[in-house]
């Protein structure tokens, strides 16, 4: 039995959470009558054990299993519902954006493993995914928190990374966008459009518009498998005006102080993580799959660099 830990060590990098969601079997998998559940989630919901059949399909021979244990911040079993996942895992990050922090929620996994279901879900209270719940949570908080002295501005962007190229899904005419670094603002996508939104429905409209633009490729594995990474960005800007004390209000030289908080929420739907050989890809599709895998690799490196303390390059001697 081998063990692995996907979580950062306790006390370090605690602003990262890595969770796993086990997808229930789909009807096709159950139809064959050979379905075997090879996963087991421990009672503490932190460890998943995967049993691997080492003997393959050797007919009558008794199966020999090898077990692998993996530890995460949380493991959701097949029965977990959308609400629990949002509230346990994403909600904290979403709320932090209203406090001026930047947060990211991303889904990673093979095509067909349920990334889009987890992120977007379906209509209806029970089946809604992280994105609609996040949007509604943000606007609900704004509604309850807004006042004459506290104002909010919410903007949204939607971009796609496809074959190492970034495009603006809400303004495709802008074409091939570039990642840049501003001396003051840090990393940003140059020329990415930002749309002011006033309600969840306006956000959904933008998501629908952008989704239509997303590049999808038909692979032998999955017609509808997403071949691109998509990032929906919600920027929450909060401006709170601190009134002057009564004795200073008569002084025309004094102006009320304004506290501005800007938080950004990145909701990421990554392309399928299947390997080139898994898709049996050839020719131009091979090129496409290669790019998907290499860009996933780069993203993986970025994540590793962030969780594994920080990139250390400074001591030059």
């Amino acid at each position: 039995m081998r063990g692995h830990s996907a979580s950062p060590a306790p006390g370090r990098g605690s602003n990262f959470k890595v969770v796993v969601r086990v997808r229930p079997p789909i009807p096709r998998e159950l139809d064959g009558g050979q379905y075997v559940n090879v996963t087991k989630v421990n009672d503490d919901s932190k460890v998943i054990t995967i049993s691997e059949n080492l003997t393959g399909d050797r007919g009558d021979e008794p199966a020999i299993y090898s077990k692998h244990m993996f530890t995460f911040d949380h493991v959701y079993n097949q029965d977990s519902d959308q609400r629990t996942i949002y509230e346990n895992t994403a909600r904290e990050a979403v709320l932090s954006t209203l406090e001026g922090y930047n947060a990211t929620v991303m889904a990673y996994g093979q095509t067909g493993s349920g990334k889009t279901y987890t992120m977007e879900g379906y209509q209806g209270e029970e089946r809604r995914g992280i994105i609609p719940r996040s949007v509604e949570e943000i606007f609900a908080n704004i509604q309850s928190g807004a006042s004459e002295n506290k104002k909010y501005l919410v903007r949204a962007s939607y971009l796609q990374i496809y074959n190492k190229q970034i495009t603006d899904l809400l303004d495709p005419a802008r074409g091939h966008l570039q990642i840049r670094e501003d001396k003051k603002r840090g990393v940003f996508v140059e020329d990415l459009s930002e749309w002011v939104v006033r309600s969840p429905s306006e956000v959904y409209h933008l998501i629908g518009k952008g989704s239509a633009e997303r590049a999808t490729g038909e692979t032998r594995m999955n017609y509808m498998s997403s071949r691109s990474h998509a990032i929906f960005i919600i920027i929450c800007e909060q401006c709170e005006t601190v009134p002057l004390p009564p004795d200073a209000q008569a002084d025309p030289s004094k102006e009320p102080q304004q506290n501005v908080k800007i938080g950004k929420l990145n909701l990421v739907d990554l392309a399928g993580s299947e390997r080139v050989r898994d898709t049996g890809a050839t020719g131009s599709r091979l090129q496409e799959s290669t790019n998907i895998n290499s860009s996933l690799c780069i993203l993986g490196n970025v994540i590793a660099a962030l969780t594994d303390s920080k990139p250390r390059t400074y001591i030059p001697y």
Binding site: R2, R12, S14, N15, I26, R28, E52, N53, L54, T55, G56, D57, R58, H68, G112, H176, Q178, R180, E181, D182, K183, K184, R185, G186, V187, E190, E218, T219, R220, M221, N222, Y223, M224, S225, R275, R277, D278, G280, T282, G283, S284, L286, S309, K310, P311, R312, T313, Y314, I315, P316, Y317
Partner: protein, 775 residues
């Protein structure tokens, strides 16, 4: 003539192949993504059963009288069955049944291996010692020479099938988290290519082997594993039923591509095994093969080459660096490379290449400096031991000649691959020969450069860096821009060791400092804290190098000050020039202190952010139970960096030529605190360098503590004397005036904001080890 019934059955088997091909290419709906592959697998299973039955019939039946196990017919059928198992294995892997994949691929290997005298059975059982040296294991792979029983054509055809199975097994086991086992299969594939394919590849291309060949099809790099030999292949009845009649036609380019895949997979496997040098070696082989085979995406290739160059540069293998960069330029200049030179991506790629080329020139200067330093150290040790001084390292042809040599005269003998090098600049004479051998992992020993050669190389490096900076502008490419500035700084530093004049050395260090200190105030620490940390550190070290030079000029004066009863009076009597020199030394020393403190501040800011994030009520200071901010740093690397800064802080403060005895004591006490913290926390860092620094700090602690006591005693005595004198003079009706305060150690530097505050005398109360609320 009526076709034998066995051949008719075989024809049926081949007809099934067509259906398999069609099923494999079918795109299934998302709800049932593997349906067609499952069907293909099933058909292939039926083909296996039918062919095996035929094998028995042909081996023992009336139609094959006299034939038994191992006759050509049954052997060929078994070859075919092995191939079918290979295809089932590939499909099983594609449908995520890796165990089944291993089973079928093993069956393929179990037959094909012995056919080619390859003991594939041994590959599935890696040595018990998982930590054994991967390279030595790979050297004893069970691959024999070409079997003489097979014709070269069949041997080649079977070998390519075996390579495909071995490659697939390598991929399967590596993805099953067993890269050692995967490595064994891939190394066998590599060996098989060398023994069974490489010797015949030219004959194959010329048609001398009598094997059907096909040109490469479109852009497809390798045949898919589910390609079958049915299309266009003769059925047994149509052929004379010789060995290999069922084999698909061979494309020489595909065979080469298969081997390229083998080495590419090996690069990944060795990377997974932590064998960096082998991984790099196979990456380089992959690039070489891609370059030779053509049809490669030039931009992608150059990008990979530039990334690999960074590895070789770090290993000091500058010959390999030069080889790869030369190849990259050749690829870009190739008329067949269709590149959009106006595209942003292309411009950035060229900028990266320029940086790499600048690094090569700068690296040669630095390597030469290291050679000189090593020789000087060896001389020093030899003299100390009373031994003969070692021979000076060899120099380039133009050593000690200030005029650039004629490249035509010196080129021969210094460049082993001169024809491949189109850059005929005179500085090339000082470059290492291009290293085209991928297996040589040794660091290149650089000959000594002359000053003029060093400057010439520097200018070339600088020109490349400038071209890179034209693209990597600060606005838009902060990290990239600063990274190039770091490289320019490194080049200045390397060049400075070839500069005999102290004033010129000082200029070079000053440029290092200015390059970065001009950018620093423009950056937002909210986003670039780690980058700024390195910038502060580098600025501090440039200033410390300047301080060394300037302090050396006033060394004798500093010693006199140390001994003088009235140093202020001594300074006041100095000529203007010496006073200025002294003043400059002090100023740059104080500036380096300030930079080191800013360097430390970046760590403290990071810690504070973390504390605030974890506890919203946190305001400032160290949490309860924490004695020092070092205890809150994020891992040994951070601790090492912070302690390095403390070591430097202590060293500078110890050497700071301050006149005022009170301030001198304050600086020395702070130096004591710095060294004490290095001693206390240095054990967390297990590097040899830190162990040495820690020992040095222990020694310094002992010396400095005594010195501080001595200075305090002298100060007490001096004050007692002053009081007595004041009392005497008061009686006479006069009061003594202070000396010249401008040179007392609190003299302002040009940028008043950057002057370091006096350190706290009592660091135990908080001092530098805490988190300041004002930071």
């Amino acid at each position: 003539m009526e076709e034998p019934k066995e051949y008719m059955r075989l024809r049926g088997v081949f007809d099934t192949f067509q259906r398999v091909q069609s099923l494999v290419l079918t795109a299934d709906p998302p709800e049932t993504p593997y349906t067609s592959k499952y069907q293909a697998r099933e058909l292939l299973g039926q083909m296996v059963a039918e062919t095996q039955a035929l094998t028995l019939t042909m081996g023992t039946g009336a139609g094959a009288e006299g034939e038994g196990e191992g006759t050509p017919d049954t052997t060929v059928l078994k070859d075919f069955v092995a191939y079918l198992h290979h295809l089932i294995g590939v499909l099983a892997y594609e449908t995520e049944e890796t165990s089944a994949a291993v089973t079928h691929l093993s069956q393929s290997l179990a037959w094909l291996g012995p056919r080619l005298q390859v003991d594939t059975a041994a590959l599935g059982h890696p040595p018990a010692d998982a930590d054994a040296d991967a390279e030595s294991e790979a050297d004893s792979l069970p691959v024999a020479l070409v079997s003489e029983a097979l014709s070269p054509g069949v041997s080649l055809a079977l070998a390519q099938l075996l390579v495909r199975s071995l490659n697939q097994m390598g991929v399967v086991w590596t993805n099953r988290q067993d890269p050692t086992r995967g490595m064994h299969y891939l190394k066998a594939a590599e060996a098989l290519y060398r023994t069974h394919v490489m010797p015949h590849i030219e004959a194959l291309k010329s048609g001398a082997l009598g094997v059907r060949t096909v040109p490469p099809c479109g852009t497809e790099p390798v045949p898919t594993d589910t390609d079958t030999g049915s299309e266009g292949a003769d059925t047994p009845a149509g052929s004379d039923c010789q060995d290999g009649w069922w084999l698909p036609p061979i494309c020489p380019q595909w065979i080469e591509s298969l081997h390229t895949y083998t080495v590419f997979f090996l690069a990944q496997v060795y990377s997974a095994l932590g064998e960096a040098s082998l991984a790099a070696e196979y990456c380089r082989t992959t690039l070489d093969r891609q370059s030779a085979q053509g049809g490669v995406d030039v931009s992608e290739w150059v990008s990979n080459a530039v990334d690999l160059v960074a590895y070789y540069e770090g290993q000091g293998q500058l010959g390999s660096v030069r080889h790869l960069l030369s190849q990259a330029r050749a690829m870009l200049d190739s008329p067949s490379a269709s590149l959009d030179t106006d595209a942003e991506d292309h411009k950035e790629l060229i900028a990266k290449l320029n940086v790499a080329e600048g690094n090569l020139y700068s690296g040669v200067i630095a390597a030469s400096r290291n050679t000189l330093t090593r020789w000087e150290d060896a001389c020093h040790e030899a003299r100390a031991a009373g031994e003969a001084v070692p021979v000076r390292p060899r120099a380039f042809v133009s050593m000690d000649v200030d005029v650039a040599p004629d490249p035509a005269e010196t080129r021969e003998g210094t460049d082993a691959d001169a024809d491949a090098d189109t850059d005929a600049d005179t500085a090339d004479v000082a470059l290492p020969p291009m290293d085209t051998d991928t297996s040589d992992g040794a660091e290149d020993e650089m000959p000594l450069l002359s000053r003029s050669q060093a400057y010439e190389l520097f200018n070339k490096a600088y020109a490349h860096y400038q071209q890179a900076l034209d693209v990597f502008k600060l606005e838009g490419f902060v990290t990239g821009h600063v990274a190039v500035l770091f490289r320019v700084c490194d080049a200045y530093l390397a060049l400075s060791s070839f500069e005999p004049q102290a004033s010129m050395q000082a200029r070079l260090h000053r440029r290092r400092e200015l390059l970065l200190s001009r950018v620093l105030p423009q950056l937002n620490p909210q986003h670039y804290l780690v980058l700024m940390r390195e910038m502060h550190f580098r600025v501090a070290h440039a200033q410390m190098d300047l301080f060394d030079i300037k302090q050396e000029r006033v060394q004798s004066l500093c010693e006199a000050i140390e001994m003088a009863a009235n140093p202020e009076a001594l300074i006041a009597q100095l000529p203007q020039g010496e006073r200025e020199a002294y003043s400059k030394a002090l100023k740059v020393g104080l500036m380096s202190l300030q930079s080191l403190r800013l360097f430390h501040k970046t760590y403290e800011q990071e810690v504070r952010r973390r504390l605030q994030r974890d506890d919203a009520s946190y305001s400032h200071g160290l949490p309860e139970g924490v004695d020092d901010v070092i205890e809150l740093l994020d891992g040994p690397e951070d601790v090492a960096g912070y302690l390095q800064g403390l070591f430097d802080l202590g060293r500078v403060q110890f050497r700071l030529p301050v006149i005022d005895s009170d301030r001198r004591i304050v600086f020395l006490e702070d130096a004591v605190q710095c060294f004490a913290r290095v001693v206390k926390y240095g054990g967390q860092v297990t590097t040899q360098a830190m162990a040495q620094q820690r020992n040095l700090c222990k020694e310094m602690l002992r010396l400095l503590t005594a010195k501080v006591h001595q200075l305090k005693r002298i100060r007490m005595q001096s004050r007692s004397l002053s009081l007595v004198a004041a009392g005497t003079e008061e009686e006479g009706g006069t009061v003594a005036q202070d000396g010249d305060v401008d040179v007392s150690g609190s003299e302002p530097v040009t940028n008043a904001d950057s002057v370091a505050d006096s350190p706290e005398t009592d660091t135990s109360a908080h001092g530098d080890s805490g988190l300041d609320a004002q930071d």
